[in-house]
């Protein structure tokens, strides 16, 4: 069984009428990109903000997500009068290439065969995801985005946007991100992929044909990943060594501690909304991300001539994309005397701090930066 997207209308969907040339040199025909917009594009077409979602995020940044029935993942910051004030800005969020909510990916149909792509889908990169979005803003008639913002994988996209399409990005805000995926990051992803592949329902990625889904493997992958998204403090404060009900050890090996039950729940809800093959490909795209690779590891050279205004944000308790990684980006930007702001936000929650509604310091910083950038860009208040 696939994720139950039947009956969900992912419109609007943009279809690329040329081939999307991927970093692997493969040319992808008929690529589609599902996206959502909030607010109104002004007459000068100068108020568009592209929000790039994370690994397992989606285009439903605000309002109600039709798949989960829950509020969008940044519902508390995107809307009228909010940080991303939709009375002022035109917010775009697109399901990334390889995603599973309307955009072309391994779960969609290969036009050449009429069958799902599955593992025949070409391996793609963060740059490929960005390039599909470049075509999207072309189609929307936007020459230059007012800002590109994203956290985690979305932060990688924001960096890639600014580096390879700098003239089309007035400001870029990479949050809880890095200029490359570290060995530790890759290692965690490989554990996740191995868990999926070890599931008896995986069938070398052809599970759709078998009418099954590698739910256990995908859930285990999510459980591992979820640990990396939170800080040790967050786990300890939330669960400690708590046991449910009678608070006595049961002398069984089944999930017993509250933290185990929590992770179990995280895994189970995740498989209802995410495709295993998409997860395989997207984690690979993140692993491949290394902004300095094109300049033999010289990150400062990557930012040469980039006129984009930057805000780099990290969180104190984020050990997946720690502050040191963000600082390396800032130093490379300083080496070019670029317009860059940087702040490490005190937060206990870990990598996922960017999603937390109570992270008001973070929201104030974003609002101030957008406001200052709007003044520089000449946007009306």
């Amino acid at each position: 069984m696939e994720i139950d997207t039947a009956g969900i209308d992912f419109a609007p969907i943009f279809t690329l009428d040329t081939k999307l040339k991927l970093q692997s040199q493969v040319e992808l025909a008929g690529a589609k990109c599902a996206y959502q917009t909030y607010g109104t594009l002004n007459a000068e077409r100068s108020n568009a903000i592209m929000i790039c979602h994370g690994l397992t995020g989606d285009q439903y940044v605000s309002g109600t997500n039709p798949l989960t029935g829950r509020a969008g993942w940044w519902n508390h910051v995107v809307g009228p009068g909010l940080v991303f004030d939709t009375d002022r800005y035109f917010v775009i969020c697109a399901n990334v290439l390889g995603g599973c909510l309307g955009t072309t990916g391994p779960s969609t149909i290969n036009p050449d065969t009429g069958q799902p792509w599955n593992m025949n889908f070409p391996v793609f990169t963060v740059a490929d995801m960005v390039d599909l979005q470049v075509h999207l803003i072309d189609a929307l008639g936007i020459d230059q985005l007012f800002a590109v913002i994203g956290a985690s994988m979305g932060g990688m996209m924001a960096l890639d946007w600014a580096v390879r399409h700098s003239e089309r990005v007035f400001a870029a805000v990479p949050v809880a991100a890095s200029w490359r995926h570290t060995a530790q990051n890759i290692a965690f992803h490989e554990v996740g992929r191995r868990a999926i592949a070890a599931d008896a329902n995986w069938h070398d990625g052809a599970y759709r044909e078998h009418g099954v889904k590698p739910e256990k493997g995908l859930a285990a992958a999510r459980m591992v990943a979820h640990i990396t998204y939170l800080s040790e403090t967050a786990f300890q404060e939330k669960f400690g060594r708590d046991l449910p009900r009678d608070s006595k050890l049961s002398f069984v090996l089944d999930p017993e501690f509250e933290v185990e039950r929590y992770l179990d729940h995280q895994g189970k809800t995740f498989v209802r909304r995410f495709d295993a093959a998409s997860y395989m490909y997207l984690t690979r795209a993140m692993d491949y991300f290394d902004l300095a690779a094109r300049h033999d590891g010289d990150l400062a050279a990557v930012f040469r001539g980039v006129g984009t205004r930057f805000l780099v944000v990290s969180f104190t308790s984020d050990w997946l994309f720690p502050t040191a990684e963000a600082r390396t980006v800032v130093r490379a930007l300083n080496a070019n005397a670029a317009d860059v702001s940087f702040i490490e936000i005190p937060a206990d929650y870990g990598h996922d701090s960017f999603l937390i509604e109570s992270a008001t310091d973070f929201h104030d910083v974003l609002e101030g930066f957008l406001d200052g950038t709007a003044r520089r860009r000449g946007l009306k208040p």
Binding site: R309, L311, V330, R331, N334, A335, N336, A337, D339, V340, S341, F342, I343, E344, I345, P346, D361, D364, V365, E367, G368, F369, D371, G372, T373, R375
Partner: protein, 214 residues
């Protein structure tokens, strides 16, 4: 819509000393009051470095371009002559390596504007002479004890000028700021000057060829 004006006398003077329209880096920019004033009054392209998180946040709320960082560590990242003016206001005494910081200021800036409290003021001298106690220098931070102060590298005007000489730095102009905010032009090195000067503000340059080699 009133323009924010810095209350500190040395900051008001610095606003006058910064030429309009250039790129400015304020090292230890605090809550960004000076940068904001420079942006509105002098139309500069302002940038800042500030170590304390809540102050960086205050700068960001003002929409300023500020990096949470450490002047002792981060200045070497910037290219030579990448700013028209680099400001170090009331922060020299907080630096772990003030000599290296000053050297960096004149590497990355065409000119540096530095303000610092003068430990050679007669009150400080008298405290040491008569009371036998370490003088407490009034800075923007509330006066503290010698063992609990961010002012770890206090100096006198003469100390400062000697350091400039060692680094091949040219003193373009100097100003004395009195306790009451009064301003007075500082002449050539004179012991008399240093006795009466509460705060000193110097505009410094360095001939291009003697810029610290890399």
């Amino acid at each position: 819509m009133s323009k924010p004006l810095p209350r500190r006398a040395d900051l008001r003077l610095i606003v006058q000393l910064v030429p309009p329209g250039g790129r400015v880096l304020d090292v230890g920019c605090g809550d960004g009051t000076l940068l904001q004033t420079l942006e509105t009054e002098k139309r500069v392209d302002g940038h800042g470095i500030e170590i304390r998180n809540h102050r960086v946040e205050a700068c960001m709320r003002k929409g300023l371009s500020v990096i949470q960082g450490d002047a002792d560590a981060d200045l070497p990242d910037f290219p030579d002559r990448s700013f028209d003016s680099v400001i170090l206001s009331q922060a020299l005494q907080n630096m772990h390596r003030p000599r290296e910081v000053l050297d960096q200021l004149l590497r990355i800036g065409e000119r540096a504007i530095v303000s610092f409290p003068n430990l050679g003021h007669w009150r400080a001298r008298l405290t040491l002479l008569c009371r036998g106690r370490m003088p407490i220098v009034e800075t923007s931070d509330t006066p503290r004890t010698w063992y609990d102060t961010p002012n770890i590298h206090l100096c006198t005007i003469r100390d400062f000028l000697l350091m400039c000489e060692t680094l091949g730095i040219t003193v373009e102009e100097g100003h004395a700021v009195g306790r009451d905010g009064s301003l007075r032009r500082l002449g050539k090195v004179a012991a008399w000057d240093t006795l009466w000067t509460h705060q000193a503000v110097y505009v410094l340059t360095r001939p291009r060829r003697s810029a610290s080699g890399e």
